[in-house]
């Protein structure tokens, strides 16, 4: 499979109280053509920040290092005009809050047309016609009328469909979806996931799906990367990860989710709390909460191979696997 997007050693630092703190450290992953990679983790683990860094949409006073290779170019070093041609055209994004992600004073059609006008040089009337087609594509009824309505007139699910239509407008190669269904109800979530699955499959789009919901990952993704405290602790094919989770954090995560079927057992929580950015200790970042922590965990672990394309950043696998890279 051809690699469409390749992220190498991505490190992101934020300025907090006049000091830089690493929100994301040494993140590496790749997405193949037509593949969906799930980036999963709890709030504050750096998954959203990572996605914004790929698009270079992070606020100023943020240091980003590493490489983001897209079509042989490093997106972190290309000029801003070039980057603008990529955003919304080659790589597009869907956000978590469909309520606030649409501009309240512009019509739906105008907002979808914007990327068509910017990247395809379409006239306003042609862009409008195509906007209607896009609205139909994402399953919006009465598209001819909705195109002239304003965001506040639509429901949450409809707005997320509009966001998807906007993202699809220029038939991007890569779609980044940042918690696209978190703000939606379950039955609406099912609709939106279904729609995304169909659209990405039809267009052979590579997708980076960011979520905190392992259920969504299991349903949507080909491969998974699990993030904890700014690092990827485990990644691999989705089946591998769910069948044979190897990192204690991944295992812990799976054990603390209540099951929808089968026997009801007492949950096994991960004790403690996620460390804050300012006091991230040395060594393995999960060690303070890890039931299997050892002396060696005071040192920083590497990513070790535990199976085909399956890596774990844990000392438990240091012997079993060969250090990757």
């Amino acid at each position: 499979m051809e690699k469409v997007l390749e992220v190498r050693d991505l490190t992101i630092e934020f300025l907090i109280e006049e000091r830089y703190h690493q929100a994301v450290q040494g993140v590496s992953f790749e997405i193949g053509e037509g593949e969906t990679l799930g980036l999963v983790g709890e709030s504050g683990c750096g998954k959203s920040v990572t996605s914004l860094a790929l698009m270079r949409l992070l606020p100023v006073h943020t240091k980003v290092s590493g490489q983001v290779r897209f079509r042989g170019e490093d997106l972190l070093t290309v000029g801003e005009p070039k980057m603008r041609q990529i955003r919304g055209n080659e790589i597009s994004m869907i956000f978590q809050e469909p309520m606030t992600s649409l501009n309240p004073v512009h019509r739906i059609g105008t907002q979808i047309s914007e990327s068509l006008i910017l990247h395809r040089n379409l006239s306003a009337s042609k862009a409008r016609a195509q906007s209607i087609e896009l609205l139909k594509l994402v399953g919006i009824p009465r598209a001819e009328q909705i195109v002239d309505e304003y965001p506040h007139q639509l429901s949450g699910g409809m707005r997320q469909r509009v966001m998807i239509a906007m993202a699809m407008a220029c038939q991007p190669t890569v779609l980044i979806a940042d918690e696209p269904t978190t703000a939606l109800d379950v039955t609406i979530q099912a609709q939106i996931l279904d729609l995304m699955r169909n659209l990405t499959a039809q267009n052979r789009m590579s997708t980076l799906l960011i979520t905190h919901d392992l259920g969504v990952v299991a349903e949507m993704c080909d491969r998974v990367a699990v993030m904890y405290a700014g690092q990827i602790v485990e990644q691999g094919p989705v089946r591998e990860i769910f069948r044979h989770p190897s990192h204690p954090y991944t295992i812990g995560l799976m054990n603390c989710i209540p099951k929808i079927a089968g026997e009801r057992t007492r949950l096994v929580p991960i004790e403690g709390n996620v460390p804050s950015l300012q006091n991230m200790g040395t060594g393995c970042r999960f060690a303070p909460r890890c039931p299997q922590a050892m002396e060696v965990c005071k040192n920083e672990p590497q990513e070790y191979d535990v199976g085909t394309g399956h890596k774990s950043r844990c000392w438990l696998h240091a012997e079993a696997g060969v250090t990757s890279r």
Partner: protein, 306 residues
């Protein structure tokens, strides 16, 4: 939107009634006896009593209020005690000059304030922002009348480009306009800046950037458009402030308008004139606020389609 407007209009009517009652009560708080003022200090008591009866001042307060409202609806604001002229006529003569002055003051505020607001927001937390914001803060702290006199001193007296006060055409409004512009623009600058900074943090601005829009496009199409909404509201209220504060600038520049009329009336205890001007200006404020509500409804789709 229809219901919204009707609600606003009915609210305005309630406010107008409140204004009429308070203004009316003010008359009774003034110690001067209107009848005595009309007939003069030397007239016999019987004459004063006759005038009192003629004016209806013997009647109970509510009755007098109804009379007063009745006259008000016919555009009759009474007769000046001092000049024995109909107040309506005196006021109508002064509306023109005051409106002319107020218009220029307002335009000056907008022309200075809005570009500076956009500028500071775009350069937030940079040296340029601190300098302009500092100037804006000084602007807000300046008393209009003093700044007016300072400008008169420099540009009327030391370097005589403009007339030393008086009312009239364009050359007369430049200094008052500039004075008001400098002191009032700062409000627009600060409001627009905070409003723009707020909008810049909104998710939909990030969406626009994610679509590949340039910073210029993001600023003008997405940020400024949304950030101007509160400025529109303030603009209308500000015209109200302008009208209420017009007395200071008129006194400073010796401008023969409504403010001066009220000012002399207050010094002379000329109650019908005081009431008339206060009433008229209050009505003006209410009308402009209402106008702004209508404009706001027209430009904010969230209200337009509700």
């Amino acid at each position: 939107m229809y219901a919204y407007l009707v609600r606003r209009i009915s609210g305005a009517i309630v406010v107008l009634f409140g204004i009429s009652i308070i203004t009316f009560l003010l008359v009774y708080a003034v110690p001067a006896d209107p009848a005595r003022m009309i007939v003069g200090p030397k007239a016999p008591a019987a004459v004063v009593a006759a005038v009192r009866a003629q004016l209806g001042l013997n009647l109970p307060l509510p009755v007098q209020y109804i009379d007063y409202m009745g006259r008000l609806f016919h555009g009759n604001l009474g007769t000046s005690y001092i000049y024995s002229l109909p107040v309506t006529k005196m006021i109508l003569q002064r509306i023109g000059p005051t409106a002319w002055l107020a218009l220029w003051c307002w335009v000056a505020e907008l022309v200075i304030g809005i570009p500076l607001g956009i500028y500071t927001a775009r350069h937030a937390r940079h040296k340029r922002d601190y300098i302009v914001s500092g100037i804006a803060l000084v602007g807000i702290s300046l008393p209009v009348f003093w700044l007016g006199l300072v400008l008169l001193y420099w540009f009327g007296f030391e370097i005589p480009i403009f007339p030393l006060g008086g009312s009239g055409g364009i050359q007369y409004v430049i200094l008052p306009g500039l004075t008001y512009g400098i002191t009032g623009a700062a409000y627009y600058t600060r409001l627009l800046k905070s409003s723009m900074l707020e909008v810049m943090g909104q998710d939909y601005v990030r969406t626009a950037r994610a679509k590949g829009a340039s910073e210029r496009r993001v600023t003008w199409r997405h940020v400024v458009r949304n950030a101007l909404l509160p400025v529109v509201t303030f603009g209308g209220i500000d015209i109200g402030y302008l009208l209420t504060g017009v007395v200071l600038i008129e006194a400073t520049f010796n401008w023969n308008g409504l403010g001066m009329l009220a000012y002399t009336a207050i010094q002379n205890d000329d109650v019908p004139v005081i009431m008339g001007t206060v009433m008229l200006i209050a009505v003006g404020v209410v009308m402009f606020t209402l106008l702004v509500d209508i404009i706001y409804a027209a430009i904010d789709p969230r209200i337009r389609y509700d």
